[in-house]
């Protein structure tokens, strides 16, 4: 465990050190917060895709459901973290339970399509919430308060809360995959027939895994809503889900922490290219394709080969 843990720990330590070694400008901190929050969502998606073999194309919906929980409570004057955080996580978990109960009955391409469909349903539902901005989205009155204080307003505090949440997500997902529960998930990913033949039914394990990933996504949504102080249906769109899936693949599907690298690389590249040219997507797209073709095992695979 320790041998495999030092690489991700290095990444997390670098993020912890970043504000103190010259990356403390407002836009840099904003960028890092976004990368870490998307990293959380990507790690929880990697848990599903790489761990359980469930390639969801609707994971942004759980992030969005968590974010909307924050926005809706905010609109009603509820801004206490003790209530907002459980609501965001709970809402995403319930969404995962309801959609997963159906989606997990399918396999492969069907699973991808049905998670995509549920994601789009969530997207259109959010678009039709006219009381909460409809298509335009809704701006928060304020960030969530922690024990009556404005802790999340502090740039440095928010940075470390995102970092802590990211570390917890990674450690939590890694722990789950190594447990008995995770062993069943991993075995069912490779060979579901074999799992049944030792007397276990994959379905409930997959469903619980799907709910857990959704809950982590909801936690990311809570932070994302607070980071931008704005929530819109675009957060739930299938393009966002595709980006998350891309971060997972870019980082390396077999490694949970690869998703952290994937999210960082994705956010940095996107920002850098957007500065260079308004047609940045013309460059970004092919770069991503090449990255996938060239980097077998993703960025984490590359790093591991270097440091064997």
């Amino acid at each position: 465990m320790m041998r495999e843990a030092w690489l991700p720990l290095t990444v997390l330590l670098a993020l912890a050190a970043a504000p103190f070694i010259g990356f403390s400008a407002s836009y840099e901190m904003t960028l890092m917060a976004r990368a870490m929050i998307l990293g959380m969502a990507a790690v929880s998606l990697s848990f599903l895709v790489g761990g359980a073999g469930l390639a969801s194309l609707g994971h942004a919906a759980s992030v969005g459901v968590g974010a909307y929980a924050v926005a809706i409570l905010d609109a009603h004057g509820v801004t206490d973290a003790a209530r907002v955080v459980p609501a965001a996580i709970g809402a995403a978990a319930v969404f995962a339970l309801l959609t997963g109960a159906i989606a997990i009955r399918t396999n492969g391409v069907h699973f991808i399509m049905i998670t995509l469909a549920f994601g789009q349903m969530a997207f259109f539902t959010a678009s039709s919430l006219s009381a909460y901005g409809g298509d335009d989205g809704v701006t928060l009155y304020s960030r969530t308060e922690v024990a009556g204080t404005r802790l999340l307003e502090g740039r440095l505090a928010f940075h470390f809360i995102c970092l802590g949440a990211l570390a917890l997500t990674w450690a939590g997902c890694a722990m789950l995959l190594a447990s008995r529960f995770g062993r069943v998930l991993r075995a069912a990913r490779d060979n579901a027939e074999r799992v049944e033949a030792v007397g276990l039914t994959p379905y409930p394990f997959r469903l619980v895994g799907y709910i857990i990933a959704g809950a982590f996504g909801g936690a990311a949504g809570f932070l994302l809503a607070n980071a931008t102080e704005f929530v819109s249906p675009a957060m739930l769109s299938w393009q966002r889900s595709g980006e998350l899936l891309f971060m997972v693949i870019l980082g390396g599907v077999g490694r949970l922490w690869g998703a952290i690298l994937g999210a960082l690389a994705f956010v940095l590249l996107e920002t850098w290219l957007a500065d260079l040219t308004p047609h940045w997507k013309m460059i970004f797209g092919p770069m991503l394709v090449i990255a996938v073709l060239v980097l077998r095992g993703g960025l984490s695979g590359l790093v591991e080969r270097r440091h064997g």
């Binding site: 062993r183 490779d190 033949a197």
Partner: protein, 251 residues
């Protein structure tokens, strides 16, 4: 006469107009190796699917240890003590041999909804897995990835997985399929060792192996059992010879 451990009672399954299983009745007594033989297309695979719960019979019953399991799912049947191996090797290729067997041990020991402790550090599971691996002679290959094992080793690993579920009955679906002569020899020796400790229903093509291993043989032809008896009785049965063995050089 003691009660049968597994009793098939008038199993019938029709696909379109074809009765693939046409009223099959068969008993497996505790402690015996009961072999089912039959030419291609006799309905062996469908019969196995009916016993393991993959295909539901149109009529008839599967009774295991006195309990009607006709409508139970495969995982429930396995938990009741009916372990199976597959005609085409089925292991978790990405797991080590040990983890493949530990998964089976885990399925038999408490709930698998445990989220905190690393499964690989559970001594009881690893010990049970090592015991099963030793039983099939794979102890030294425990840490090898299952995908990297030879064909014969994978077959042995499948047996170890089945043993780790602590079965009351082993249902072996052509355990020798695809094995070379040397591997076959080793596997037959292994099955001979297991014979004293387990009740086995063996579905197998290799006649020499069946004659060497089985206590009783049932002959399945076109979905019907045309004869059941000792090895000698089956070899001497003219109907069996005509229907099946006559076309086979090994007899």
């Amino acid at each position: 006469m003691a009660d049968a451990l597994l009793r098939l009672d008038g199993l019938r399954k029709q696909f379109g107009g074809l009765a693939v299983t046409d009223g099959v009745s068969l008993d497996v007594m505790p402690g015996e190796i009961h072999a089912v033989i039959g030419p291609n297309g006799a309905g062996k695979t469908t019969l196995i699917h009916e016993i393991t719960g993959i295909v539901a019979p149109d009529s008839g019953r599967v009774v295991f240890g006195g309990r009607d399991i006709t409508r139970l799912s495969l995982p429930r049947r396995v938990r009741a003590g009916l372990a199976r191996s597959f005609q085409i090797t089925s292991v978790v290729a990405g797991f080590t041999a040990l983890e493949n067997v530990a998964l089976a041990a885990q399925a038999r020991s408490g709930t698998s909804f445990r989220f905190v402790r690393p499964a690989a550090s559970e001594r009881a599971l690893n010990d049970a897995a090592m015991d099963a691996l030793s039983e099939v002679g794979l102890a030294e290959r425990a840490q090898v990835s299952a995908g990297a094992l030879s064909h014969g080793e994978k077959r042995a690993l499948e047996l170890a997985i089945a043993l780790a579920t602590r079965p009351r009955l082993l249902l072996l679906d052509e355990p020798l399929a695809g094995a070379g002569p040397e591997e076959t020899e080793r596997l037959v020796a292994l099955l001979t060792r297991l014979k004293s400790a387990y009740t086995i229903l063996l579905v197998e093509h290799d006649m020499q192996a069946v004659f060497a291993l089985a206590d009783r043989i049932s002959v399945l032809v076109y979905g019907r059992i045309i004869a059941t008896g000792s090895v000698a009785a089956i070899r001497a049965n003219p109907e069996v010879r005509a229907a099946y063995l006559g076309e086979d050089e090994t007899c």
